[in-house]
Every structure is written in C-alpha cells, then in structure tokens.
C-alpha cells in the first residue's frame, strides 16, 4: 500500500487522476454487490457493458453519440458549480432546449441547412437559457435555493413537454399513432460524420464547446466574476462584483449549454421528439461534472466514460437482464468518493488529502439563503 500512498501524496497527479480512478473502482465494486444481489454475475454484466460500449458493431460510434450530450450538459453543470450554484435542473433545460430546437426544425421551411441548423441550435440554447433563468432570477432576487427550484422546474418541464407532444398538443404529429412531434426538415438535420453510422456533427460542436467554456471561465471578466462568486460570494460582493447578476448569468449559461444539448440531440440523433425524450442525461451530468471536478477539459474524459456506460448499459440489460439503472449506483458511489476525500483518506490511511475540495454554493447549503446573507445580492442592488 505504500506505493499507492506515495503516489497519492503527489497532489496534482492525485487530484487529476488517482482520486477519480479510485472513485471509479469503488463505484464498480459497489455496483457489483448490487449485481450479485440481483442474481447475476458481475463479470458477465460488466463484460456485456464493455462489449456494448466498445466492441460491438458501431458500438464506439454509439458511445460517442451518447458522449455528445454529456459534454454539453457536463459543461453546463460545471459552470454552475464554478459559480457556486448547484444546477439540478439540467434535465428540464435539456427538454426545453429540445422543444425549442424541434419547433424551429419543424416549422421553418425552405432555409438552407447552413442557416436552419444554427437557428435551431440557438433556439435550443434560448430555451434552456430561459428555463434556467427562472431559477437564477428567483435565487438572486428572493434567495430561493436553486436546488429546490430547479428540481421543481424539471417536473414542470416534463409536464409541459408532455402537454405539447401528447394527444393533439400544439407540437404533436397529428398523423402519427404514437405521441411524438413530426420529423424536422432535412435542412435542420445535423450532417453525419461517419457514413454508415449515426455519429453526427454534434461531436465537433461539443469538442469546440470545451475550449470555449474554458476560455470563458478563465480568460474573461465574466468568467472571473463567476469564479469569484463561486469561491466566496461575500468577498466578491465586497470587491464590487454584483453577486445577483453573476448568479443569473451563471444559471443562464448553464441552462443555455443544457438547452444546446437538447437541441443537438433532436437535430443529430432522433430528428423528432418523443414524450420521454431523455434517459436522464441531465441528472447524469451532475456526476460528469463532479468527476471532472468542474474543470472544462476534464469534462471530456468524464463525459466519454459516462457515454460508454450509458451506451453499454442497454446491451448489458439486454444480455444479462441487469437493469440499466445499475449505472446510477456507479455514479452515486463515484460522487461520494470524489466529494469525500476524507473518506479516501480514512480508507487508505493517508494524512494529507485536502479536506474540502468540492465547494458547492456558499457553505450553509439549502437554507442558508433564507438566513438573509444571500438574498442581500438582489437585482435591484446591481441596478444602481
């Protein structure tokens, strides 16, 4: 164990690679227990997972397809974390982005693809932006904790989507037997990257989003404000940063990225929108961001990993009968270990693991906003 302990003392290496790696191993270990309890063989189950994710026909392409929304959504949640906000509403923003995207895809005709696609994607960003901004404004103006409001907005988004698409809703395909929207125009469909597969241009967009978000966070004034508010809102306010507006901005950017993911999914993969559109991408994105420790570059491997798990899980369920929900157990365990370095220190008998590396919101959590400190950052304050 001393070799491992020695490696763990190299801080940068440990933070970037070892802690996530240990977390993953523990995640799969805990998940194996669930597999055994449900009467299957973990080796078979995880073997099928790997097969479904990488070695089956077109499996790697399918993994990359699942990676795309995770990149956008993971970046979105990460921007939230960097600004001290916990956006659990990525799933609802994803839905709204898809609704806006599919609306543009279905209702605009005769545009060339070079216009139609960007308009639809921007519409998706707008949808996610607006939906998340509700939570952002309520937080900044009234101190309503974003964890509760974004979760509630998720439910409202699901019901709204259901209304729009199900029996004779405004967006429903009147001629279809199953509830769904019509197909989007071919001009709005994202081009295929690899012929013979479903892998689409969204991958390029997602790969471009990573440096853009990195640049935004670390090389711009807005990014500086976001990070300052995330690290210490009180100090940021003392330094003259408008905390309220920054919170609204953070939620807006976070939501726009989630909305982009939704629109991209419609334009690139499904080309229409069924009522249960997501398999929980928005919720998985929380784990993607935490595993990457909210570092935009680290979102890439993290999203790829979750993409692999997501695309392999279906095959695993098919072959071994173990529910695809198993990957939720892996995720939860991974988050525990990433968020609890003290736990890792305790298990591996270490002394110098940093103690609180995951900063989410100001200490005080759910109800601190009610104690008067946070709501002081109101929009009015910034108007002066």
């Amino acid at each position: 164990m001393t070799g491992l302990a020695g490696l763990l003392r190299n801080r940068r290496l440990r933070d970037a690679v070892l802690l996530p790696a240990i977390s993953l191993v523990c995640g799969f270990a805990v998940a194996s227990i669930a597999v055994v309890l449900s009467g299957a063989n973990p080796i078979d189950a995880f073997g099928a997972l790997l097969q479904g994710a990488f070695t089956n026909r077109n499996a790697l392409e399918e993994t990359l397809i699942a990676t795309i929304p995770y990149i956008f959504l993971g970046l979105g949640v990460a921007v939230g974390f960097r600004g001290g906000l916990f956006n659990i509403g990525a799933e609802g923003q994803f839905y709204l982005g898809a609704v806006f995207g599919v609306f543009v895809g279905v209702s605009l005709h005769g545009l060339p693809g070079i216009l139609h696609i960007p308009i639809a994607l921007l519409a998706g960003m707008l949808g996610g932006f607006l939906w998340a901004s509700i939570a952002g404004v309520l937080k900044a103006r009234f101190g309503a904790h974003e964890v509760i409001t974004t979760i509630m907005l998720n439910y409202v988004a699901f019901l709204l989507t259901d209304y729009l698409i199900n029996n004779k809703g405004p967006l429903a395909d009147k001629h279809a037997t199953a509830p769904k929207t019509p197909f989007i125009d071919s001009t709005a469909q994202l081009p295929i990257l690899v012929p013979g597969t479903r892998l689409h241009m969204g991958l390029i967009l997602a790969l471009l989003a990573v440096p853009l978000v990195w640049f935004l966070l670390s090389r711009t004034t807005i990014g500086f404000r976001i990070r300052a508010v995330g690290l210490n809102a009180t100090a940021a306010r003392a330094a003259g940063i408008s905390v309220g507006w920054t919170m609204v901005t953070v939620m807006g950017i976070s939501g726009a990225l989630a909305g982009l993911a939704g629109a991209d999914e419609v334009l690139g993969v499904s080309h229409f929108m069924p009522p249960s559109f997501s398999v929980g991408y928005g919720f998985d994105a929380i784990a993607v961001a935490l595993l990457a420790r909210s570092n935009p570059w680290a979102i890439l491997p993290s999203a790829f990993l979750f993409g692999a798990m997501r695309s392999g899980a279906g095959f695993m369920q098919l072959v071994t009968g173990v529910s695809a929900d198993l990957i939720s157990i892996v995720q939860a365990t991974v988050i525990i270990f990433v968020a609890a370095p003290l736990l890792v220190r305790w298990i591996f008998r270490l002394r110098d693991v940093p103690e609180a590396p995951v900063h989410i919101a100001e200490a005080g959590g759910l109800a601190s906003a009610a104690s008067g400190a946070a709501p002081a950052a109101s929009l009015e304050e910034t108007a002066t």
């Binding site: 449900s38 009968g321 939860a332």
Partner: protein, 319 residues
C-alpha cells in the same frame, strides 16, 4: 375567452364538488408530505440539511413493499420501511457529519442511489412476477370519534400511516419545544460551538436527529406502497420529498407549520386531480403542475421571511 371558459368550469366545479371528500383526500395526500417535512424539521433544526428525503421515501416505499410482499404481513413491511429509512439516513449522517461531504451533494448522491437501487431490484424482483400484492393498510374507524359530524369522517376514518402522521406532528412539536433533547437539538442548529461549550455532544445530537428523520421519511415512503396503492412503481414518490422541504421552509421549520403547509400543497394536488375528473377544459398536465409551481412560488416568497436555523448546512468540527 379561455378565462371565461375557466370561470364556467370553476362554477361547475364548485357545484359538483364534495367538500367533505376533498378535505379527507387532502389529509390523506398530506400524509407523506407532512412526515417528510417533519423529518426535515428534525434534521435541519440540528444543523443538517436533508434533501435526501425524496430518495429515502422512494427506497423505503420499495423496501416496505418487498418486505410486506415476501412475508404477507403489512406490519413487517412498515417496520422494514422504518429501518431502511434509518439506514439510508445513517449514510447521510456519516457522509455529512463524519466525512464533511457537502450536505447537498450527500443528499443528491442518496437520491441518485435510490433511483439506481429501486430501478435495479424492481426489474429483478418485481417486474417479471405477476404480483398479487399484500394489499393496503385497513381503514380504522375510531369508535365514537368517527361519528362526530365533519371532523369524524375527515380525521377518524383513516389508515394507519395517516394516524401516525397526525400523532407525530404533536410528538415532534413536543420533543422540539418541551424537552431537553429539543433544546439541545435547536442549540446545535443555531450555534454548535456554544452548544459544545455547554457540554452538548454536537455530533451525537446530529446523528440521532438525522437518523430520526430517516425513520420519519421511511414512514412517509411506506404511505405510497403500503397505504396508497399496495404496490410499487418506479419513481412513485414523484418529487414529494422535495415538496416536503418547501413545506418545511414555508412552515418556518416548525412541526405544526410544516403540517399546515403540507395541507396547502396537498390541497393544490387534490383540487388539481379533482378538476381533471370533472373534465375541466384545462389540459391535465397544467393541473398536475400545480403543486410544483406552488412549491416554487412558496420557496421564493417565504425565503427571507422564514429564518432557517443559523448553522444549518455547516459541518461542525471540534478543534
């Protein structure tokens, strides 16, 4: 135009409405909300945020049902729900009190875990079996009391979990405001350092309160599977654990306030469902949104006026 339609519909609604059954249904619907909100009060008054209540209710609804199904005994199902609720809450306690994990993260982890565990085992054990469930808890009519006009049918012709909820509102109130333990709990939530200086074991108080909130959440979870439908479905709790937290905030972190706020949310839910049955020309989805939107409004409106325990969410470490 649509508002005129709505007015006509509402008129229709009030003519057809049976206020008695609406009130009864509101109390029943408020049962899991109140229980989870009471759990939230216990937990947060000692200084620990508990957004895991949703996951606790989902898991305990499942465990309670499986236990009752296997043993053909609803009482054992209830017990299993209580115990499993305490175990999950203990995980939250260990992570947030011992390992200083951000309490919101720890709660989120438990909610994700709950989805995973119930999903995996539902598929393995319940989905394939053509389940003949253990049924639901019987309705107990309390002799004499149930014959009181108005209050009798509403309060005294209920099922077990609802009675437990009504009693627990009073019990938690008494514990919190009339016992030494309650005073210690509130001290730990307001100023743990002062409590520690006065010789109170802050960690112990927080452990006990977090685990009690698991028991309350477990009872709330058993409502869904053992009292309401006698079965388990994935995602059966539908965000009620989060709505309960809003009820706790709206009720200003007091048991009775939380109960009244839960009645408000349950009332919105019940009226929404009733309107759907009456064929009101509002899409059902919008009616189903009522409790969620009300939660957002309440959390935004009550914040700032409702004062949270001062130290809630902050881990306490002895130096």
């Amino acid at each position: 135009m649509s508002s005129m339609l709505l007015a006509v519909d509402l008129h229709q609604f009030f003519r057809q409405i049976d206020l008695m059954s609406l009130a009864t249904l509101t109390i029943v619907t408020a049962t899991p909300l109140t229980l989870a909100a009471l759990g939230g009060v216990m937990c947060e008054r000692s200084g620990v945020v508990n957004i895991a209540l949703e996951g606790i209710m989902l898991t305990t609804a499942f465990v309670g049902f499986v236990a009752a199904f296997v043993t053909h005994n609803l009482a054992i199902g209830l017990l299993a729900a209580l115990v499993s609720g305490m175990l999950i809450a203990a995980l939250h306690a260990v992570l947030s009190i011992e390992f200083l994990v951000d309490q919101i993260v720890s709660g989120t982890v438990i909610n994700i875990l709950a989805l995973g565990i119930t999903g995996v085992f539902y598929r393995t054990f319940l989905q394939q079996v053509n389940v003949k469930g253990p049924g639901t808890l019987p309705v107990w009519r309390i002799p004499l009391l149930s014959d009181i006009p108005v209050a009798g049918p509403i309060l005294f012709r209920n099922q077990g979990v609802t009675y437990a909820m009504l009693v627990l509102v009073v019990v938690v109130h008494l514990i919190l405001f009339n016992t030494v333990w309650g005073l210690r709990t509130r001290a730990c939530g307001e100023h743990p350092l002062a409590a520690d200086t006065a010789g109170i074991n802050v960690k112990l108080v927080r452990y006990v309160n977090v685990i009690s909130s698991g028991a309350l959440g477990g009872l709330g979870g058993s409502y869904f599977s053992l009292q309401q439908i006698g079965n388990f479905l994935p995602g059966i709790t539908g965000g009620r654990g989060f709505i309960a937290l809003a009820a706790m905030i709206f009720g200003k972190w007091t048991p009775i306030g939380a109960f009244l706020a839960s009645l408000l949310f349950a009332g919105a839910d019940t009226v929404g469902v009733r309107l759907q049955y009456l064929g009101v020309r509002i899409p059902t989805q919008f009616l189903s949104m009522l409790p969620y939107i009300l939660t957002i409004v309440v959390v935004a409106g009550a914040m700032g006026r409702a004062i949270a325990p001062a130290a809630v969410g902050r881990p306490y470490r002895k130096n």
